[in-house]
């Protein structure tokens, strides 16, 4: 009887995993990662890999971590970075389910860019409220906008069951970090595409609207109506509903409870008001109404690198907090060690001082 290899190449496929006994609870098919960071577009993956030092690929799975962990014999990784197979919710859902199955993480973070939603201020003289280009929005609640019933009287909302971002991640970690971002953004390398070079990203903890197509025409009537409906939301993306859906579907084991959260750097502005808000075009000219689709694309192109890095940088500080403590062992799980980046400052635990904070509801105590 031939023996079965613990891991290796089978035919033209690379296969990990030993046959026989292994710890079950948090052991995926390819090992275990405490944190999975999911990106979508290339600039997001690039930014996250750079900010996290995730230079090494694990096997040939297009999944990355720091070089010192990539060849780990026990296949236990503090974090891994991966990319969704495509844009939009359905591929993101499939990609997330695959990562949950393969790495059984404690936490999934969606890190990338999104469209910031701006609304007129109560004071007609004041600038619009909401995030600006380059700011970071953490989704504390996800709305799924396209699921509606159309009738002659208009659109009625319909609802899909999803896991919402975990309250503990938001309140204990994201809100604390947002309140005290300190030097969290100091290491950013990307230059702001505008004139405000010294400005650091502000962090918003807010509602997120997931849609199915790029919010490419900020003046589009459907889009404006949709954003009016979700009047507390600050950011639009195309994947968060899919990720929340994947986690919801994964709730089949009472002993395994992964959590998730979405972190979006604002790469372009969409508006939620009639008539569309005035604002500057990428070339700096004042525009009556929001940007046309082409201008919006141009804006996103200009800002996506900076916005990706802002989101990744915030995520890095957040991951450092999440991995600050070890996961204690139990009968069904060997546990996992604490972990720190080791830089900047050497402690691995991000220092937090000062900064700008936006949490809670637009109706409440910002």
């Amino acid at each position: 009887m031939a023996t079965i290899p613990a891991s290796g190449r089978v035919g033209n496929r690379w296969v990990h995993g030993a046959l026989g006994v292994r710890m079950a609870l948090l052991q995926g098919r390819r090992g275990h990662a405490r944190i999975v960071i999911l990106t979508v577009i290339a600039s997001e993956l690039k930014a996250v890999r750079e900010v996290f030092g995730a230079d090494a690929e694990i096997g040939v799975d297009a999944v990355f971590t720091r070089p010192e962990y990539a060849e780990s014999a026990d296949r236990c990784y503090p974090f891994i970075v991966a990319r969704s197979p495509d844009r939009s919710n359905t591929p993101a859902s499939g990609g997330t389910k695959k990562l949950l199955e393969f790495y059984r993480p404690e936490v999934v973070l969606v890190v990338g860019i999104g469209g910031g939603i701006q609304r007129p201020s109560d004071d007609p003289e004041a600038p619009p409220t909401g995030p600006n280009l380059g700011d970071v929005v953490v989704g504390k609640y996800v709305h799924y906008a396209p699921y509606t019933k159309n009738s002659p009287d208009g659109r009625s909302l319909r609802y899909v069951s999803i896991d919402q971002p975990a309250g503990l991640l938001v309140s204990q970690h994201a809100e604390t970090l947002a309140a005290f971002p300190g030097n969290c953004f100091d290491g950013m390398k990307a230059e702001r595409p505008d004139e405000e070079q010294d400005r650091r990203p502000s962090v918003f903890i807010s509602e997120l609207v997931a849609i199915e197509s790029i919010a490419g025409n900020p003046a589009g009537e459907d889009q404006i109506a949709m954003l009016e409906r979700f009047d507390n939301a600050d950011v639009v993306d195309m994947e968060s509903m899919g990720v929340g859906r994947a986690l919801h579907e994964y709730r089949t084991d009472s002993h395994y409870s992964p959590r998730w959260m979405s972190i979006r750097g604002v790469s372009d502005i969409v508006t939620a008001e009639h008539p569309p808000l005035p604002g500057p075009t990428p070339s700096g000219e004042e525009s009556i109404g929001a940007l046309a689709e082409e201008d919006n694309n141009q804006q996103r192109k200009q800002w996506k690198r900076y916005a990706s890095e802002a989101a990744a940088t915030f995520a890095r500080a957040l991951v450092a907090r999440l991995l600050f403590s070890e996961r204690p062992p139990s009968e069904a799980d060997p546990g996992a060690p604490s972990w720190s980046f080791g830089a900047p400052g050497g402690s691995g635990h991000p220092a937090v001082v000062g900064g700008s904070v936006h949490t809670g509801s637009r109706d409440g105590d910002e």
């Binding site: 079965i4 290899p5 033209n12 098919r29 919710n89 199955e101 019933k149 199915e212 579907e249 994964y250």
Partner: protein
Amino acid sequence: MSSSENVTFDYGLLMCDNFDEVLNGPGSPTTLEALIEQSLGSGRVLLQARGGSGKTTTLERLARTAEASGVAVARLDALAWASAQEMSPRDTAPEKLLSLASPAISNRELSAGRNWLFVVDGLNEVAQSFAASMLEALERLASSTPSVGIIVSDRLNRRALPSGLWALATLSQVSEAQVRELVDDPKVTQDLATLRLPYYLQLALRGDLGSRSEQHRTFLLTHGGVAVDEMPELARAAYLQYQEHGDRRVDLQAMRKDVGDALVERLVVAGTLIPEPTSRFAHHLMHDYLAATHAATRPGLWDSAGLDTLTFKATSMDALAMVLEQAAEAADLLVRQVYDWNFYGAAYLIAEDRRGQRKISPAMELAVITMLGERRFDRFTSTAQQVSDALRVIDSDVARDMLEVETKDEIAAVVVARSRSLLDAAWLDDWVTLYTRTSSEPAQVEDVEILASQDSLLGWTMSNVIRRSPMREAVAQELRRVASHGPTEVARWRAVHALGADPRRGTVDVLLTRLDQDEAIWVRYGAIRSLVEIALIEPNLRQSVFAELAQRVPRLRVEPHLLRELERALMLAGAPRSWSQDSAVVVEQLWVTSGSVEEQDRWRGLGAALRELAGAAR
């Protein structure tokens, strides 16, 4: 002739990168150990191979190998799961799979730190709708339980898999050298291709020789507990079981009533009939043979209802080949009848015939394969893909010609060239003349008479010719009349098919009426396709067609076959940029009326695929 005892056949396992490799080769040789490792690494393996190629035996070998390596093994009979589904439909929870397995597994056992191999035999033995649900349930099990590796056996077909994580495998055949070594009896004139299948080689080594049908007959009479005079009665009972259940189950009570207690007892004692856990024949090919035997002498059963019964609505074609073997003198008639029902079925018969007795005339082969070749250029991408698969499987000179042509117009030249050497069929000239009619020549009202004729080849050919010809209102009117009041359901189906090229309001109304009222499922099936086609070619009718289809979603929901066709039909080649938005009203209705969140995901997936299609159109 060697004895079958202690002979290990030298067929092997092959890993495949995609369905093209599963269907056409070559695949990469692998081992039992490596396939088990693959199943634990990727979670899911689909092992597809022809009937009789050793799938069940291979699964058992995999199970034993895994057990010897310390991996726990659970076995599941797909048919048992399907039977349980009938009692509690929509229960696709992974726990249901686990509870029906042998041994039954609890979630606690799965979490106990051990790896499990879950082998599922006979996905091909359950109805199409159950098979899709079962794959969904297995996907959920693999996704939620990384300690489980799943291997499922199935027939050769391009399955829609629930995720991209499924690894594909197939089985090679027994080598020619081993067959020749084992079957060295000059009396054996059986075709080598069949003997390279382990099931038939095994029968041959037991002395059951001849065509597949003859092998089964000899087996049943010599080892299976059946007397000669009992055979017709047993064949009829086997056919009725298919008719009743639509899968491989055998209702023992009904069987006892049909053939008597004594015969049933003998079948059980001989191992021909397996009473537990789900009653069935020892091999599905045995049941296919018996049902085919009943149908072979009754051309009246070669209509769409009879052929649906034999093949579980065109999902498993093995029985068709055995009808052909037993009705060789009527081979062309059978092909015509089968073509009227399902052109993949006709292609399958030609492929099987070319491997064996060659009873189908070359003229018939040319005509059928040509019609298949034309479908390579179908707007419906799933049809074009399936046709290309079928042509590769046939692998004859004409089939290769059809795979090589780059435009539909080139087919006529192939037909003219190939038909010159065929003098054996009086009807061929008429067919060639009709098929090669130029697309600029307007269709005539008299053409519709040919379309509605008894001759399936001329009728379908005319349906396609009319579709590519300029169509006057008078012709369209006649087509609508035949679609509504045609003498046979197949005449109505052909008319409905042709009307897909007539983007007029009156045609849309007729097609909607057919969809609502026609008793024949294939006419309703054709109406869906033609309506979607009209929505594609006439932007002014698009919105209303989709609105009408959306209204009918609740009714379509009770007919999975039609719902699946609607899903496939929306994925059209050449769809405009606005297609996903235009068809959203249908997808939305499918979504809103979904009975489960999993079904919602199915339609959300369709919406995403349509948006991707629209993106590609940019």
